[in-house]
């Protein structure tokens, strides 16, 4: 596979993409010398063709939804409709300044308002704020609102957030950022939260609990109503981590389950792209009691006109989480997607995400892989454990993951949730065909055969990607975090 030198290494002093810069103005008297930088900033000096060619080639080295099946559990890597991208990038949306007066911004505001309403309806919440910029920031907003709620009632002793041991890392990290202590609640044999443990953990120190349902174990928390009652009785509130909303969209609503606050990952359930790491949108929905604490701004409709609600309108708000109003462009993509799904389409998402997951689970089980909760229905995702393969063949979940790449499949999420040994968390999503799922099963079977024939072979996978397996230990030990002039060029590859 070809080597692509760093863009810096392709530069030459004085080379420029000359069509892109304006003419050269003198600095003038406006800015005294002492404010100016001594030399030019160290940026690449390359031509426009070099830039286009370099980044086109780099892009080809990525796996992506647009090129591969990506059954990455907890991440909902489904098709990102191209229509959403194009419509969110219409000039009127793209060029609007965030401080443009409401009077000349009714178009975009109407979209945001519509989406607020749609999300409230589909989650069963009383109000929605679109400002959080990703799931984790939605979590922050949610827990901050829980805190604001208790404090507003003078209930200052609550200093603990409960988190199941299967929870995503952002949950405990968020609780801490909001000033809380974290208490872990164990999972029972069947994959549900251990209700006894929960009861024991609840108390006057309990601010709330963060749950996702179905959980990151891929199963629906069956006693959710009971749990909600317990937590509420203890004076705590329930937070719904909406990363798994795809599993129940249009089928069941967190609000009906008793949750007080929810964040949605619009970049999962509402199909906005992940962009190689972001941006997302972590829109939050709240029950009535948290309405006063929502993060601002939020769009309100007054007669035919839309206007921004700010601190003035919501004096008890937890405040602002971004300089403007969050990731509007992402939100617009989600809005277009929601309109294309419509009422009927919402439930179909859950239907087919669940169908695909259960089908894939059953097929893998039939091929002899260990499904972790075999007695349970899969939600939109499920777990298999390669404990057996690791013990008998020395082929770990990591080895399977890396070898899958050679077969043209992105690896499922590996080693999460932490409590299942050698696990793969597999989420096929609703937009994949049955043939694709069958191909994945076939690849898993082939890989196990390879492991049986030669366990070492998998250890060295992948074989067909731009690089072989990378030395991550070295990366962390011998930190090399940026290019510097004079650094030796990358080793030449053919």
């Amino acid at each position: 596979m070809r080597n692509d030198p760093l863009i810096f290494e392709q530069g030459r002093p004085g080379r420029r993409a000359a069509a892109q810069a304006p003419g050269d103005f003198p600095v003038g008297a406006g800015i005294p010398d002492r404010f100016l930088r001594a030399g030019p900033a160290r940026l690449p000096e390359v031509s426009e063709l070099q830039v286009v060619r370099h980044y086109t080639r780099l892009s080809q080295k990525n796996f992506s939804i647009d090129t591969q099946f990506y059954p990455l559990g907890s991440c909902t890597m489904k098709y990102n409709p191209r229509g959403c991208n194009r419509l969110a990038m219409l000039p009127g949306f793209l060029d609007r300044h965030p401080w443009a007066p409401d009077s000349v911004s009714q178009g975009v505001m109407s979209c945001l308002h519509d989406l607020q309403e749609m999300l409230a309806e589909v989650t069963g919440m009383a109000g929605v704020s679109l400002t959080p910029m990703a799931g984790a920031q939605g979590e922050f907003a949610g827990v901050a609102m829980i805190r604001a709620y208790h404090l507003a009632r003078g209930d200052e002793a609550r200093n603990e957030i409960l988190v199941p041991d299967a929870a995503h890392g952002t949950n405990p990290a968020t609780a801490v950022m909001c000033g809380y202590k974290v208490r872990e609640i164990p999972t029972d044999r069947d994959g549900d939260v251990d209700l006894e443990a929960l009861k024991q953990a609840l108390g006057p120190q309990t601010a709330g609990i963060m749950l996702t349902n179905p959980s990151t174990l891929g199963v629906f928390e069956r006693r959710i109503t009971e749990m909600a009652e317990l937590v509420h009785k203890a004076g705590g509130l329930l937070y719904y981590d909406g990363a798994n909303l795809n599993a129940i969209l249009g089928k069941a609503r967190p609000g009906d389950m008793g949750f007080d606050v929810i964040h949605m990952n619009l970049h999962k359930t509402f199909s906005t792209p992940h962009g190689g790491g972001g941006p997302g949108s972590g829109a939050i929905g709240v029950s009535k009691r948290l309405l006063p604490h929502m993060p601002v701004p939020v769009v309100a409709r007054e007669g035919e006109a839309y206007r921004w609600l700010t601190e003035r309108d919501l004096p008890q708000t937890i405040g602002r989480l971004s300089a403007f109003m969050g990731n509007t462009g992402v939100v617009l993509r989600a809005y277009v997607y929601a309109r294309m799904l419509g009422r009927e389409g919402m439930g179909r998402v859950a239907d087919f995400a669940t169908l695909n997951a259960n089908y894939l689970m059953c097929r893998l089980r039939a091929e002899g892989f260990q499904v972790w909760f075999p007695q349970r229905r899969a939600s939109h995702e499920f777990i298999i454990s390669l404990k057996q393969e690791a013990k008998e063949l020395g082929a770990t979940a990591m080895d399977f993951a890396k070898r899958l790449l050679d077969y043209g499949y992105h690896a499922p999420t590996a080693y999460f949730p932490l409590l299942v040994p050698e696990c793969l968390l597999i989420e096929p999503t609703e937009t994949e065909t049955r043939e694709e799922l069958d191909g994945f099963v076939e690849a898993m079977v082939c890989i196990r055969d390879e492991a049986r024939r030669d366990p070492d072979y998998l250890k060295q996978a992948p074989y067909t990607l731009p690089v072989r397996r990378l030395d991550e230990v070295r990366a962390a030990k011998e930190l090399d975090l940026k290019w510097l002039p004079g650094t030796p060029a990358l080793k030449e590859q053919e």
């Binding site: 993409a17 304006p22 005294p32 404010f35 930088r37 001594a38 900033a41 426009e48 780099l58 892009s59 080295k61 990525n62 939804i65 647009d66 990506y70 489904k78 194009r86 419509l87 990038m89 000039p91 009127g92 793209l94 300044h97 965030p98 443009a100 009077s103 911004s105 178009g107 979209c111 309806e121 984790a136 805190r147 890392g169 952002t170 089928k251 970049h267 992940h274 962009g275 190689g276 790491g277 972001g278 941006p279 602002r320 300089a323 403007f324 509007t328 799904l341 419509g342 009422r343 389409g345 239907d351 669940t354 169908l355 059953c362 229905r377 072989r468 990378l470 990366a475 090399d480 975090l481």
Partner: protein, 454 residues
């Protein structure tokens, strides 16, 4: 069924494999009472054709013509190549590059981004993005508290000339952890901090300084940095990245340079888009690298010795360290970083310097032109970059509305944050503003002022 590939035959065959009677029975673990809400207020599905028409109509309602607003978001020329490449499926629809071997494109790009940002700020290390400039400041403050082992206090001093919304966001985010933000107020001479302001420094863990500041003014960053360091405080610089191509970068401020640098990356090739998605950047001294929030990419080798790129120092992050992580951030603003990296590669150091100069030049022209109108004058005299405060004979809010009605976006109303500044308008002219635009603005403003005077 938009986006669902299943035929009836598929459904039947798959249900048979599962051993389920119908789709509904796949949800049999959900208590009956929780299912089946009719969602009656949701609209019917629309085809792409229908939603295209809807969105075209809505987007056409919003006025975007000559824009003289800045205040944290700036309309620059974005080379066509930037988004034609950024929206390539392999960038657009990829996940976070946890599987390094299958993500070398994004990872190498991020490594290049880190190299560019450290070049621009003259700092040692950069992360691979945070949400936006304001939330990046909050993270920088949390990081400074962790990093400044010498300081015992959780007091952080914030320049009174910092963008007030940045201040609000930082407070929303760091407040719960008992961190107190205090204002570096004191003699706010001519829109910038002076030495006397720094008297309050004692015992602070960090100082936050913005360059150029909220009013567009250039701060005496050398003095501020040295004084802060003298008092044992770390210096957090909030900077505009385009300005950095022209102005002295934080790594070179004062004797030792700033300690942490953050800011809004939007000016680097990201469209205005009503405020987001943008991206926050964060750079720091090497010594603080393990305190940084967000993802970091490192170069390493594969088992054949070929160089490659991977996420590194992941032990700082929530998916490994959970409640002890440096931040809860997970999804960041990767695609915006893709755009910014391509933008910086296209502009280069010289191109970006020219952009900065053109902005400065146009802003000088703009203020000169507008100040020929009677009653309009600059509030401050000192050096500015590409924004300046104008004092008007009427409330800025009124003027802004009137000009918007004729398609001119006049600026930012400073009365939002300070009633004493109700007549103050913060204006900005980037390299996109032409002489015609300025003339149009002047003419429209003149008309409004005359009318109101009459």
């Amino acid at each position: 069924m938009p986006f669902i590939p299943h035929t009836q035959e598929d459904i039947d065959a798959m249900l048979e494999v599962i051993g389920a009677a119908d789709l509904e029975s796949l949800f049999d673990e959900i208590p009956v009472g929780l299912k089946g809400h009719p969602l009656s207020s949701l609209p019917e599905a629309m085809s792409e054709q229908a939603v295209t028409r809807l969105m075209q109509e809505r987007s056409a309602r919003d006025v975007c013509g000559p824009c003289f607003i800045g205040a944290g978001a700036y309309r620059h020329h974005i080379p066509a190549a930037v988004w034609e490449l950024t929206t390539r499926g392999e960038f657009y629809s990829a996940y976070t590059p946890y599987q390094a071997e299958a993500s070398q494109g994004t990872l190498q790009l991020l490594y290049e981004f880190q190299s560019m940002m450290t070049g621009l700020t003259a700092m040692d290390v950069s992360n691979a993005s945070l949400y936006d400039g304001a939330s990046a400041l909050a993270e920088a403050i949390l990081m400074a508290i962790r990093a400044n082992r010498r300081a015992s206090s959780r007091r952080v001093l914030v320049a009174g000339t910092l963008h007030p919304v940045y201040r609000q966001v930082a407070e929303s985010i760091v407040g719960a952890q008992g961190i107190v933000l205090e204002t570096l107020e004191a003699p706010l001479r001519d829109g910038a901090l002076d030495a006397e302001a720094m008297a309050a420094l004692d015992g602070a863990a960090a100082v936050v300084v913005q360059q150029p500041n909220f009013y567009g003014r250039l701060e005496d960053v050398d003095m501020l940095t040295d004084q802060a360091h003298g008092a044992g405080a770390l210096v957090i610089a909030v900077v505009n990245p385009v300005a950095m191509a022209l102005l002295r970068p934080p790594g070179n401020w004062g004797r030792d340079g700033a300690d942490i640098v953050c800011g809004e990356g939007q000016p680097l090739g990201v469209p205005l888009s009503s405020g987001g998605p943008y991206f926050g950047f964060l750079c720091a001294r090497q010594a603080f690298v393990r305190q940084m929030p967000g993802r970091i990419v490192g170069r390493t080798v594969d088992l054949e010795g070929t160089p490659g790129y991977t996420l590194t120092l992941q032990a700082r992050e929530q998916h490994i360290r959970r409640s002890k992580a440096t931040s809860n951030i997970c999804t960041n603003q990767g695609l915006m970083v893709t755009a910014a990296t391509i933008y910086m590669a296209l502009l280069g150091g010289e191109g970006l310097r020219r952009v900065a100069l053109a902005c400065h030049h146009n802003t000088v022209s703009l203020t000169e032109q507008l100040c020929t109108l009677s009653g309009v004058r600059p509030l401050h005299q000192g050096p500015c970059f590409h924004e300046r405060v104008l004092e008007l004979p009427r409330p800025a809010s009124q003027i802004i509305e009137r000009l918007a009605a004729v398609g001119v976006l006049a600026g930012y109303d400073l009365g939002r944050h300070d009633p004493d500044m109700a007549n103050c308008l913060l204006v900005c002219a980037t390299e996109l503003i032409t002489g015609d635009d300025i003339a149009r603005y002047r003419q429209a403003l003149e008309a409004v002022l005359r009318e109101e005077a009459a």
